[in-house]
């Protein structure tokens, strides 16, 4: 089956960020297709590379990046939600006059249209959040 995944909660605060990852990973391992993972609301914080969790804890951001690399996953961070919360790629950062960016490898920043398209293209879209 072709799934799209919507992640609405931030890492470490909410189980949804973990469950979304575990679902996505398991679906891929079982041979399903993931059309896109879309990060919205505080979910955009899953895509910042400037997280340093304690060494004995899971690294949520790195885990996503590795999954994306292994399976060529399309992981999209909502631009409007990201701008509100300070998640930037190099071009967005430059456009807004900042001197740094923090998007993690494997994530890209794009519009909400990508969420709608994810709903249109997938057989099922699954929301992880409150």
């Amino acid at each position: 089956m072709k799934f799209s995944i919507l992640v609405n909660e931030g890492p470490y605060t909410h189980q949804a960020a973990d469950t979304a990852y575990q679902f996505t990973k398991t679906a891929l391992e079982k041979g399903h297709e993931i059309f896109r993972v879309f990060f919205y609301h505080d979910g955009v914080h899953n895509g910042t590379r400037l997280t340093v969790p304690p060494q004995d804890e899971r690294n949520i951001v790195k885990r996503w990046s590795e999954l994306a690399e292994k399976y060529k996953l399309d992981m999209v961070v909502c631009i409007a939600a990201a701008q509100r919360r300070g998640v930037m790629d190099a071009s967005e950062s430059k456009r807004h006059g900042f001197n740094a960016d923090n998007i993690a490898p494997g994530f890209r920043i794009s519009g909400l249209g990508q969420l709608i398209e994810a709903g249109i293209q997938a057989d099922r879209i699954i929301t992880f959040g409150d």
Binding site: I79, A80, A81, R84, E92, L112, I116, E117, I120
Partner: protein, 129 residues
């Protein structure tokens, strides 16, 4: 980067946005509305449902000055201009909060829980906020 407005393959699906949260206190209501507005460009069959505290999103007379938030409730009146005309409000949610249709900003269809369940079952895509 700008919002994409492509329409993949001309597919038309039934999209329902389910609004469950009060308009202020968390950002879910505002960001849900943003999805509905962007989604309108994709010419899908869109409806909005308001349940639980989500019914407060449509309440008349919102005044947010004291909490320094933007009052985004007038935007619900603009939905019609985006061809979003199917607004369903859960009757039980209104009743338990002492609200009636007359307290709401826009024309809606008030539906019972079983009616709403039936509408949800008919959808291709449900995004719940």
């Amino acid at each position: 980067m700008s919002e994409e407005t492509m329409e993949p393959g001309g597919v038309r699906k039934k999209f329902m946005y389910v609004n469950r949260k009060a308009p202020y206190g968390t950002i879910y209501a505002l960001e849900s509305l943003e999805v509905a507005l962007i989604g309108a460009a994709f010419e899908q069959d869109v409806s909005l449902a308001f349940v639980d505290d989500g019914v407060y999103e449509l309440a008349k007379g919102q005044n947010t000055k004291g909490i320094e938030m933007k009052n985004f409730s007038p935007t619900y009146r603009a939905l019609e201009g985006y061809d979003i005309e199917k607004l369903y409000v859960a009757k039980e949610s209104l009743d338990t909060r002492g609200l009636t249709e007359a307290d709401l900003l826009v024309p809606v269809q008030v539906v019972s829980a079983p009616e709403l369940a039936k509408l949800m079952a008919e959808q291709d895509v449900i995004l719940s906020f």
